[in-house]
């Protein structure tokens, strides 16, 4: 690793203080304990209800049926382990702050895989990146657990829900803290499984259980890429531990085909998990799960794992300009594509889902142009504001659902056309969600402004580097990224207006039952709202600070400096091969100019679209006419699902059926002829030969044998 690059003044600090981790294993272990407790309770509860069924009793999982034995313990254990894990992570973070840690701190627990030529330890790696991710996962995770206590209180599967949620956090922590690719893969697969379980949580609904399956299958395609990349890496380096692997990666040839293959395969994995083109299709469907799950897994944590993977492998990506350009390209096109779909969705969660896909695209754009810390920066701010948006949407749906349920109205509680004017009923939700909307739209000084703007700026700067590989391409990326920012501001404002402003469309009777969410739900909203404002201040660009009044000495590019030990190797490779990045955007203007332009544009878009949408007469879902023309294409998500079904799913099913018929001849012979030859005693053998079953088998066997003989003899 690069240890020689310590600046003079800090070198003394380095030798003086040693980083001492504070029970880091507990961070991972606590959620696992939570899972075991809640899981045992869920199984015990299942037994009880099964027994009740046996005794002929009725199972009432309906509203208001608070069974203390299934609710009390998970309500404390679920969020409790998260809070404890967060506190331990914070202690580690503070300890790391006070020392200069240049090498990742690796703690080995036991030898996991040892085959003579290949060894992997069950080890966790503590460094600036992993501790940051751990803080996000446990911190945001804790808030969402608290929110869930309120949101899920009427659900019969309460302990099961918390056991899945805890298990998810466990695997997510393995993913971010693991010290090697195989360990990361364990977490990678694990979060996929939990996501599958939680999407299908309300499995009685067929559509919802299908969504879970879809998520799982699409993720498997990505995981295939991850596995292949791992084996290529093993072939190249003979190890899969991060520290030795990345230090040896320095010796690789720049732009070599092998490193390009590895990084592209890794990106296939990342694209699956982080819902990028062409594997994004599962994420919008994943919204079938409970809304806090969407906030935790499908917005704040799991879906950002792909970004984490790229940043973790930044050394490899820096070595491959083609892979980096692919990452950036897929990212920016996904951002645009998803944003266009979000323009026409009416389901509040679908809007947020496509918005998430779009924002993930931004993150990939960032890491694709070598701005690894910036990608992580957007990951963090996005975790705050998108979790807030989802939880806010959850509060709205919760209220809508209750109101519709009480009035026996069978409208869709998630359809924004049925909402409108909710501001009056849910002021806290309304306020906090506007904060998040400003953040995602990129309006100064909300969190999203700093992170998104920096990604856009870095794209321009990278394209202008002295020896940038494809300068024109990056200019296109930059323009698309700017344009998408405007779309983002538009669809978010549309969502807010349709939900909270204008006249109320729920119906008179229904409106009487609309209430603000209980404190256990709005308190996490408030906390996230605060973070959505100040979250961006951890990384204010130097240039902005110099031009405008700064936000205190700590804020200036703190995150960049903090992540320096993780990303510097990649930056050196990039700078060495491509030269310094530009100071000017393609059409002139520096960082400050474009920051001002983009925030003004975003604000203008919010204001105009507010007026546009509020004036438009939104009709309730039942009365809304069918869309036509381009709007219809957008509403149907460019018909991608249908195309996939035609081109991939159906042919695969047909092939399987075909193979079955050809290879398993019994299906033809056995079923047709087998009926007659039951219990024929001695004639049995004869009849079997007559049916031809054994003959067919022997024929196939003989043909196979002849082929093998022929091949080997001639």
């Amino acid at each position: 690793m690069h240890t020689a690059l310590v600046e003079g003044g800090q070198a003394t600090v380095d030798t003086a203080a040693q980083f001492e981790p504070f029970f880091p294993g507990l961070i991972i272990l606590l959620p696992l304990i939570g899972f075991l407790i809640n899981g045992a309770l869920a199984l015990k509860h299942a037994r009880v209800s099964a027994a009740a069924v046996r005794l002929g009793g009725e199972l009432d999982l309906g509203e208001g049926d608070h069974r203390p034995e299934t609710h009390t313990l998970p309500s404390y254990v679920g969020p409790g382990v998260m809070l404890a894990a967060f506190l331990i992570a914070s202690v580690n973070f503070i300890r790391m702050l006070s020392v200069e840690l240049h090498e990742p701190h690796v703690i080995e627990y036991w030898t996991w895989i040892a085959t003579g030529t290949f060894t992997v330890d069950a080890a966790i790696q503590l460094d600036q990146l992993s501790i940051l991710m751990t803080m996000i996962v446990t911190g945001v995770g804790f808030l969402i657990h608290v929110f869930s206590v309120g949101y899920m209180s009427d659900d019969g599967g309460y302990p099961r829900y918390f056991s899945y949620l805890n298990l998810f956090i466990f695997f997510m922590l393995v993913l971010v803290m693991g010290a090697s690719y195989p360990l990361m893969f364990v977490g990678w697969e694990g979060v996929g499984l939990c996501s599958y379980l939680l999407i299908g949580f309300w499995f009685s609904d067929r559509e919802k259980s299908d969504a879970g399956k879809k998520a799982f299958i699409v993720n498997r395609i990505g995981d295939f890429g991850f596995l292949i990349a791992m084996f290529l890496l093993f072939g190249m380096f003979g190890t899969l531990d991060f520290v030795p692997l990345f230090s040896e990666a320095d010796n690789l040839e720049y732009g070599g085909s092998l490193v390009t293959a590895v990084t592209l395969f890794l990106f296939l994995g990342a694209a699956g998990k982080s819902a990028q083109i062409p594997l994004y299709v599962w994420l919008p469907d994943a919204m079938a799960g409970p809304t806090p799950v969407s906030a935790l897994i499908h917005a704040a944590t799991m879906v950002t794992a792909g970004v984490y993977l790229v940043v973790r492998s930044s050394v490899l990506y820096a070595l491959s300009p083609i892979a980096s350009a692919t990452v950036a390209g897929v990212g920016v096109f996904t951002a645009l594509f998803a944003a266009t779909i979000a323009l026409k969705q009416n389901d509040i969660k679908k809007v947020l889902a496509y918005s998430t896909v779009s924002q993930l695209g931004y993150m990939f754009l960032g890491v694709g142009v070598g701005a690894y810390a910036t990608g992580i920066f957007h990951l963090i701010t996005h975790a705050f504001f998108k979790a807030l948006l989802f939880l806010g949407a959850g509060a709205v749906i919760h209220s809508m659902h209750r109101s519709l349920h009480r009035t026996n109205d069978h409208q869709d509680p998630q359809d924004m056309r049925n909402m409108g004017g909710l501001k009056a009923f849910m002021p806290i939700t309304w306020g906090t969600m506007w904060v998040a909307t400003f953040a995602i739209a990129g309006i100064w000084p909300f969190a999203g402004f700093f992170s998104k703007d920096e990604i856009i700026w870095q794209t321009a700067a990278f394209g202008g580097a002295a020896r940038a590989p494809y300068p024109a391409l990056y200019q296109v990326y930059w323009v698309i990224a700017l344009g998408t920012a405007i779309l983002t501001a538009f669809y978010m404002t549309r969502m807010m207006v349709m939900t909270f402003h204008g006249s109320n469309r729920t119906g008179v009777e229904e409106a009487k039952h609309l209430y603000e969410a209980p404190p256990v739900m709005w308190l996490p909203l408030m906390a996230l709202a605060v973070l959505s404002v100040v979250g961006g201040w951890i990384n204010v660009p130097e240039a902005l600070r110099e031009t405008f009044i700064g936000l205190g000495p700590l804020t200036s590019e703190w995150l960049h400096r903090w992540l320096e030990p993780v990303t510097e190797q990649a930056h050196h490779i990039q700078e060495f091969n491509l030269g310094e990045v530009a100071e000017q955007a393609p059409f002139g203007g520096g960082e400050v100019t474009w920051a001002v332009i983009s925030t003004v544009l975003a604000l203008a878009t919010v204001l105009t679209s507010f007026h546009l949408v509020i004036r438009k007469n939104v009709r309730a879902a039942a009365e809304d006419p069918e869309l036509s023309g381009f709007s219809k294409v957008l509403y149907h998500k460019w018909y991608v699902d249908e195309v996939y079904d035609r081109l991939i799913v159906q042919p695969l099913i047909r092939t399987s059926r075909f193979c079955w018929r050809v290879i398993d001849a019994r299906v033809i012979d056995g079923i047709v002829n087998g009926v007659g030859w039951a219990a024929r005693g001695v004639g049995f053998i004869v009849s079997m030969f007559q049916t031809g079953t054994v003959n067919t088998y022997a024929l196939v066997l003989t043909i196979g044998a002849l082929i093998i003989l022929g091949v080997s003899v001639f």
């Binding site: 069924v53 499995f203 399987s656 079997m688």
Partner: protein
């Protein structure tokens, strides 16, 4: 102790586990037909019969324990002198552990079935012991004739066990098919052995290897010989296109027999396959490697695709077992030490997870042959939580989910393949594994994610104590070797030492 092969008597020591098994098998046969048991069997009353059957089962377990002790003892002996027939090496002893494990699990899960189906317990348990002894002969053999002998001892016992449930048409049909096709394929194997003898003048595996590498063998005879042997083994491991018997036999055979044979017979055939090809035909790796390559590829792709559309869980598991044959064939195609060790490890894990899955299928079908459709598993997890969790673990392990033994096994096989530069095969292995997730998890899905249409349909499931113990041990071991695999991996690795030369990996290239 030292085993001196120049003295005939010492062969007794070298074959101690096999001898103990055969003797206990005969004892069980005799006890089984003795007055009391015979009478009890005739009696219509259930309880006496059950008890008598159980007694014979425990007796068989005792015999297996004796064989296990003998097997453990063999680790301490040293070989002196030339043995042309039987090997006393760690490779054989490791394989013996797999067979012993499979037999113990098989018997533990048979108790309730034997009772419910009113099978003749004495013959049933004795045949399992005889088959196990045959497997042990197969993998310990240094001579092709002994391989054949072991193979036949095993096969005849397994044919009989397949057709054991005479009242069931499917069982008889499966047994007959297995027998006819098995006899057919044994012909290939035997003809292959004859040709090898013709080409090299020996049936001793090591001598064959030397003759070939010294250039003394006649290549004209050798290439059809190797092809015929490949066909014979491919039938026993059920590689596509020699697999046709598998689904029928697995579906027809009594459920505990299916569980046991799907693991043990396959393991025995694979281990013998590996020894013969790696020690005997190492020098002509280039000749057989393309055949194995294609067999592995076709088996992996075909079996996984067909398993996708199965609705009967026994047939699904049968095709899954064929798919695993494909994965294991990759190890033989790779032909290096890592792959060989990986194969041993994989067979161990496979025995646990496959038998576990079959055992639960049995208990869902009430220890008989009903309710075998995947749709019968609706809501199973929630009404039988513990069994549900177990089956989920088995299925995840079969699919190769991280944290389970199945994942480690696949990693190990892939490492072996990577060492021989079998990149395309590795990619096929990974891709087909991706496909396999679908059909394994579909069962898990139905179990946990669907509400049963009729309430309480799984309430009558009975898991007798021996089976409960077997299941618990299997789950525990699968998770243990998944999370702390190093001891088992190391054990498998050291079991390969002294097997012989491995030159195959050096030649590795495309098919």
């Amino acid at each position: 102790m030292t085993i001196d092969f120049s003295r005939q008597l010492h062969y007794v020591w070298a074959l101690l586990p096999e001898i103990i098994l055969c003797v206990s098998g005969m004892v069980i046969l005799v006890v089984g037909v003795s007055g009391r048991y015979r009478h009890a069997h005739m009696a219509a009353g259930g309880s006496i019969e059950s008890k008598s059957g159980d007694d014979l089962g425990w007796l068989a377990l005792l015999g297996l324990l004796g064989a296990a002790m003998a097997n453990a003892w063999l680790y301490s002996v040293t070989e002196v002198g030339e043995s042309s027939m039987i090997a006393v090496d760690r490779f054989r002893l490791f394989s013996n552990w797999i067979f012993l494990l499979a037999a113990v699990l098989g018997i533990l899960i048979s108790f309730a079935y034997v009772y419910r189906q009113r099978l003749q317990a004495g013959e049933f348990y004795a045949l399992i012991l005889f088959a196990t002894a045959g497997m042990m002969f197969m993998v310990g053999a240094r001579d092709l004739i002994v391989v054949f002998l072991g193979l036949e001892v095993m096969s005849i016992a397994v044919y009989t066990l397949t057709a054991f449930n005479r009242r069931d048409r499917k069982s008889a049909e499966g047994g007959l098919k297995y027998f006819l096709l098995g006899a057919f394929s044994t012909g290939f194997l035997l003809y292959g052995i004859a040709l090898v003898y013709g080409a090299t003048g020996s049936t001793n595996v090591a001598v064959i290897g030397e003759a070939i590498s010294n250039g003394e063998a006649s290549m004209g005879l050798l290439s059809p010989a190797v092809a015929l042997l490949t066909i014979g083994f491919a039938f026993k491991v059920s590689a596509i296109p020699f697999h046709m018997w598998t689904p029928d036999v697995y579906e027809g055979a009594p459920a505990p027999v299916t569980a046991w044979m799907s693991a043990a017979v396959k393991a025995a055939a694979f281990v013998a396959f590996l020894r013969v090809f790696m020690v005997g035909f190492d020098a002509i790796y280039a000749l057989w490697y393309p055949i194995l390559w294609w067999l592995a590829a076709i088996t992996m792709v075909g079996a996984n695709l067909i398993a996708l559309v199965q609705t009967n869980i026994k047939r699904m598991l049968a095709y899954s077992s064929i798919a695993h044959t494909g994965y294991l064939l990759v190890a033989i195609a790779a032909a290096n030490e890592t792959a060989a060790a990986g194969m041993l490890f994989y067979l161990l894990v496979y025995t646990l997870m496959n038998m576990g899955a079959f055992a639960i299928v049995m208990s869902v079908s009430h220890h008989s042959e009903e309710r075998l459709y995947i749709d019968d598993y609706v809501g199973f997890g929630w009404s039988q939580p513990l069994l549900g969790v177990f089956l989920t673990v088995f299925l995840l392990s079969l699919a190769g989910f991280p944290g389970t033994g199945g994942f480690m096994g696949k990693i190990y096989l892939l490492l072996g393949a990577a060492e021989s530069d079998l990149w395309i095969l590795s990619v096929i292995l990974v891709l087909t594994t991706v496909v396999s997730y679908w059909y394994y998890l579909r069962v898990a899905w139905v179990m946990w994610m669907k509400d049963p249409e009729t309430e309480g349909q799984h309430n009558r499931i009975i898991v007798p104590f021996p089976m409960r113990f077997a299941l618990l041990a299997s789950v525990g071991l699968i998770l243990y070797v998944g999370i702390f695999p190093s001891a088992a991996l190391e054990f498998a690795r050291t079991s390969i030492e002294g097997l012989g030369t491995f030159g195959g990996g050096l030649i590795g290239q495309g098919p």
